[in-house]
Symmetry: C2
Subunit: 152 residues, 2 copies
DNA sequence: CTTCGCTCTCAAGTCTAGTTGAGGTTTATT
DNA sequence: AATAAACCTCAACTAGACTTGAGAGCGAAG
């Protein structure tokens, strides 16, 4: 068993962080590879995390729920001074920024819903005239291929 | 040039469908491989589409804007009687269904925004008590792209 | 000191929605 | 008949966010 037995305030192993934060160990490895979190190693090359990692992972998860891609989250986290535990003030700054994105996304979906209501009985779907087919409000996700982000 | 010269009511070649519907030829191939549209072939193995394909592609594109994944769109189109051109009534049925999804998505994001407003200064992010971290409203988050899975 | 569980690295696979390219065939026009 | 534009198939690539698996090492309990 791990190192969590009687050491409430020490560093955390990867499995413990996984349990406490609710993400998989593989995801933590992945975040670390992407530079979103950091760790140092024991003599035996195992990861040890400071307690700030829990807050960081929390921020990551919330930002993902907001629809922010990992790369952007990573950039934001890097603006925090040197591997510091994010404070409430830091969090406020990040969340205010992301709130704007969220708002835009909600607006876009709402407009779409309104168009859908208008068109729901017409069945026209004309390429030129139907508002549902005319993306007057394509925000970011223009273009080719596989970049449609805007999950739930 | 192709077969569209003086034959307004005949079948359509793949390039013409692409031009008229605004999707790439490769996308039409792809939709066909996925069973969302069908064609028959000439002696020389080239695709020929009935005119209903234009309406079908229109439905596909609109549904995608609503955030419906291709697999679901395909299932819906399969409920239409045998390769029939979707009528206005068919379209209404589909769109009413998808409207509910859209609404749910909007509601979810709105709740998320409200939580964010509440939490924007608190910085708590407690795993147990923070509403931002407690996904009381995970509806099958059928996101595009990667699997943003579960209790994100 | 053995053993079992945890952790390590690295490669490859998954899923969506296609695009791109190679190499070859068909169709329409000249 | 020759030529050019369109079309064909199939494989491989893209992006994002991970997961899965193989093969090997680490750490603490018994």
């Amino acid at each position: 068993m791990g190192q969590d037995a009687r050491i409430p305030r020490r560093e955390l192993g990867v499995g413990e962080v996984a349990r406490r934060s609710g993400v998989a160990v593989s995801a933590l490895h992945f975040y670390e590879a992407k530079g979103l979190i950091t760790s140092h190693r024991t003599g035996g090359n195992q990861r040890r995390y400071g307690r700030d990692v829990l807050r960081r992972v929390a921020v990551i998860k919330v930002a993902q729920r907001l629809g922010v891609p990992l790369a952007i989250i990573g950039d934001a986290l890097k603006t925090l001074p040197e591997a510091r535990t994010p404070t409430a003030a830091d969090w406020r700054k990040l969340s205010e920024h992301w709130r704007a994105d969220l708002d835009a996304r909600i607006q876009k979906l709402t407009r779409l819903r309104d168009s859908l209501d208008e068109c729901i009985g017409c069945g026209c779907l004309s390429v030129d005239t139907c508002p549902l087919r005319n993306p007057y409000d394509e925000l970011g996700e223009a273009g080719p291929g596989p970049r449609l982000l805007d999950p739930g």
